[in-house]
């Protein structure tokens, strides 16, 4: 199974191109790194791939078919700031199970403790919230995961913990992962292959 | 560049105003037309009258013409600058409004200034000393003022200062029985003090509360924290960072308050028998003086629009922070 982005172009204003004719391909079970300077359009590309940003030209497809809106998106995006990705008025239990009922295996693998489920989001740290965001997005229907700087805000141990869990799960579930970061060392550890955005972006 | 932007801005506003006035005309005309009150009846009042005369009057007011025809007649005249003849004052509506509005404008302007200045100072003091006794006193004062019916306050002030103490006249903007040449400035001012005070009261509370909250917000901002970290403190700090940042929003709010100012003037003028536009509004409404009432509605809409326009100009062109949002989006 392949996630293909072809000829992706995006701009905010006239003649102010952020992305131009970007091509990207990601296979099932592949861990691909995307590196780039801050403000280079990495996050925009992530949003386009996962259907968050609609105002672009070009195509995003899985094995040649486009992704229809309104149903569960097989391409899930994880953000840098997990505290913005949860409804502050919901308990963690409800947040966790919004997309699907998360299996005990995944909870164990992320080290999510039982008593966290009854807390409010503001009672957990960023690293803990990020585990929830990941567990929530890894349903059996998820085929690709876009990870946009997901461990930039956590300490090195938590970062290693989180990535260890993700790599285990995606390997087992044959999920393709796009890792976006500006940290080269991390990329070298995680990814089979790394592309630099400035090399594929024709601006 | 900036001038061009301003031109476009004003152009858009004028188009908006025209649409607004058209809709206001239609809506208010329709509302008044719905009224089950018979204008002829209201005009005649207690007088006895011949059926022929009644027919003439009915003809004059177009009781039997269909609504839309009446509307287009009226609207056509409005476009020519003719708002019709006031039924109760027997004078052109434009003349009545000009006369009355000028009187009200003095009242509204003085209380607007008073409430702005007093409210801002109170708000700054309360915000600076938030949590202290003086803050609590100002807060309580404001809460009570906001909950006070304006017309009741007018009654009480009238009772205390005019009836009991006799310091001020009981009503009217000038002493009765004098021609306008004989009225001194002192007379005018004396007749203005109580209405101005009453009218400014609500505004004081609103501006003070707003200023207080905004100042507290500013004083807990990152940039004030940093200023403190750099050794700034006390009144100097509030002056350098607080007052500067709170002033523009407060002035903007004060311009947005034209609508309530007008409403307040109606009540205050009624109690103090101050012959301004507010009193004319009540008279026109109670005695079904449709041309005058519609004229006043149009003028009040213009008045409110002007306030909003100035607020928008401050917001768009004077506050430097706004440009930031334009560049980032």
């Amino acid at each position: 199974m392949y996630l293909k982005a072809e000829n992706i172009s995006f701009r905010y204003k006239k003649d102010n191109w952020i992305l131009r004719n970007v091509d990207l391909s990601l296979g099932s079970g592949e861990v691909l790194g995307l590196i780039g300077d801050s403000g280079s359009g990495k996050s925009t590309l992530c949003k386009i791939l996962s259907g968050y940003e609609k105002n672009y030209s070009g195509t995003v497809s899985i094995d040649g078919t486009g992704i229809p809106p309104g149903i569960y998106n097989p391409i899930q995006l994880i953000f840098q700031h997990p505290e913005k990705a949860v409804n502050p008025k919901w308990k963690m239990k409800d947040i966790l199970n919004e997309g699907h009922v998360v299996s005990q295996d995944i909870l164990d693998s992320f080290g999510i403790k039982k008593n966290w489920l009854h807390r409010w989001p503001n009672e957990l740290s960023g690293g803990e919230l990020q585990r929830f965001a990941l567990a929530r997005a890894l349903s059996p229907k998820t085929k690709f995961l876009i990870a946009d700087e997901i461990t930039t805000m956590v300490d090195a141990i938590t970062q290693a913990q989180i990535w260890e869990s993700i790599l285990d799960i995606v390997e087992e579930m044959k999920i393709g992962v796009l890792v976006v970061s500006h940290e080269k060392n991390l990329m070298n550890r995680l990814c089979h292959d790394v592309v630099h955005l400035s090399h594929i972006n024709n601006i | 560049m900036k001038q061009k932007k301003f031109g476009i801005f004003i152009g858009k506003k004028i188009i908006r105003l025209i649409i607004l006035l058209i809709v206001v005309c239609i809506a208010s005309f329709w509302l008044v037309e719905q009224s089950p009150i018979d204008p002829v009846r209201a005009y005649i009042g207690e007088m006895s009258i011949q059926p022929e005369q009644r027919a003439i009057l009915e003809e004059y007011w177009g009781v039997n013409t269909p609504s839309h025809e009446k509307f287009f007649n009226w609207a056509g005249n409005v476009l020519k600058g003719d708002l019709g003849i006031s039924l109760i004052y027997r004078m052109p509506v434009t003349y009545v409004i000009k006369e009355r509005f000028t009187a009200s404008l003095i009242l509204m302007a003085s209380s607007w200034l008073l409430s702005g200045i007093v409210g801002f100072i109170l708000g700054i003091i309360a915000g600076m000393k938030s949590g202290s006794l003086i803050d609590k006193a100002i807060k309580t004062y404001c809460y009570v003022l906001i909950a006070t019916p304006t017309f009741w306050l007018a009654l009480i002030l009238l009772l205390v200062f005019s009836v009991y103490l006799g310091w001020f006249p009981v009503g009217l903007s000038v002493p009765i029985g004098l021609t306008s040449e004989e009225v001194t400035l002192f007379d005018r001012v004396q007749h203005l003090i109580l209405p101005t005070l009453t009218l400014s009261v609500l505004g004081v509370a609103q501006i003070a509360m707003f200023t207080r909250e905004k100042l507290i917000e500013i004083l807990s901002s990152d940039y004030v924290l940093f200023a403190k970290a750099r050794g700034e403190k006390g009144f100097d700090l509030v002056l350098r960072h607080g007052v500067r940042n709170v002033a523009l929003p407060a002035i903007t709010l004060q311009f947005l308050g034209f609508s309530e100012l007008f409403g307040g003037a109606v009540l205050v003028e009624q109690v103090f028998s101050y012959p301004g536009i507010g009193q004319a509004t009540v008279a026109a409404g109670l005695r079904s003086d449709v041309p005058l009432l519609l004229g006043i509605v149009l003028v009040s809409a213009l008045f409110v629009f002007l306030g909003n326009l100035i607020a928008d100009i401050i917001y768009e062109f004077i506050d430097p922070r706004i440009k930031q949002q334009e560049t980032t989006t």
Binding site: N185 | R230, R240
Partner: protein, 325 residues
């Protein structure tokens, strides 16, 4: 100004830290939904020392309360904060009054972002700060000199904060600390999300300041950045400092590091072993009796669960652990 060598001699001669923090703790009482009041402990039994001519990096995860440490030193905590413990500056007790007297003069803060500048004040006025009429001319001159050094053109003087680009903003923020020739400089997360070139440039400003004799406290979550320029690194964990290590201790498998947590942190870096240990940092509302690292420690014993371990001096570094010697 003293040069680097002279500074070091002076330091050794006096052997005295510019700033000494002894066992401070910081808690907040705050209202939560329904106006229930809770007590939140952010910092507990934290000790550290900062020396002139040195950069001390305080490294800990984001949102763990490191910024509040800076605010505590400057005495700009909110009114619902409770600060206990002792601080000394130049050997004298640093009371709230003393802090108010020193801040902006001898002690300076470099904030994280342009949000810390007044949005309605022009840049040069902000950098100069509040000064007497008599000194205004001189200060203006100093400000211009500093800006010239940082390659900030004269038109920057008249700009508003939102008109600054990211790089300009960082240089302006650094300038605010230089204008009063402060002795102690506290930089709070000055390198968020910077790419390598900008990161190195910003870091070099701090090295400069230390070389000129300032004591610099660099608060950051980026241990890699800290390792590039610091002299010592203090490891901030669950509201306290577990270890203050010298930069040379961070090498190989971290066998020179004193605390098991520091070692785990070092080994978790992608460029090292990328190896995770189990468990989580305690939550701020959890009450812990023993060592804060007890839950996750591989070498814990019964003593560790009872009371905070004493601060020990081991191999020219400080550590709070019962099991090192």
């Amino acid at each position: 100004m003293l040069n680097n060598a002279e500074m070091n001699i002076e330091k050794r001669k006096e052997g005295e830290a510019l700033l000494k923090i002894k066992d401070i703790s910081l808690s907040f009482s705050q209202y939560v939904s329904g106006l229930r009041q809770t007590e939140l402990k952010v910092i507990s039994s934290l000790s550290m020392e900062a020396y002139s001519g040195e950069i001390l990096a305080v490294v800990g995860s984001s949102g763990s309360g490191k910024s509040l440490l800076a605010h505590a030193i400057l005495g700009i905590l909110p009114s619902n904060a409770k600060l206990l413990g002792k601080m000394e500056y130049k050997g004298q007790e640093l009371t709230q009054e003393k802090k108010e007297e020193l801040r902006g003069k001898e002690i300076a803060l470099i904030p994280q972002s342009v949000n810390y500048l007044d949005p309605l004040m022009r840049i040069s006025d902000q950098v100069i700060g509040s000064v007497d009429e008599r000194n205004a001319e001189l200060m203006k001159q100093t400000q211009r000199d500093i800006f010239r050094k940082y390659d900030l053109k004269p038109d920057v003087d008249r700009m508003f904060p939102h008109e600054l680009s990211g790089g300009m903003a960082r240089r302006v923020l650094v300038s605010t600390a230089l204008i009063n020739s402060s002795k102690l400089i506290i930089a709070d997360e000055p390198t968020p999300g910077l790419d390598e070139k900008n990161l190195n440039e910003t870091l070099s400003y701090f090295r400069d300041m230390a070389n000129k004799g300032c004591a610099v406290i660099l608060i950051t979550h980026d241990i890699e950045a800290a390792l590039k320029i610091s002299d010592k690194i203090a490891i901030f964990y669950a509201g306290t400092i577990l270890e203050e290590a010298n930069i040379e201790d961070f090498k190989n498998d971290g066998e020179n590091l004193r605390h098991p947590y520091t070692r785990a942190l070092w080994n978790a870096l992608p460029q090292n072993k990328f190896q995770a240990i189990k468990g989580h940092q305690p939550m701020q509302d959890e009450i812990i009796d023993g060592c804060f690292f007890y839950e996750r420690c591989s070498r814990r014993n019964e003593l560790c669960s009872k009371g905070t371990p004493q601060l020990k001096m081991i191999k020219e570094g400080l550590v709070r652990c019962n099991n090192v010697s």
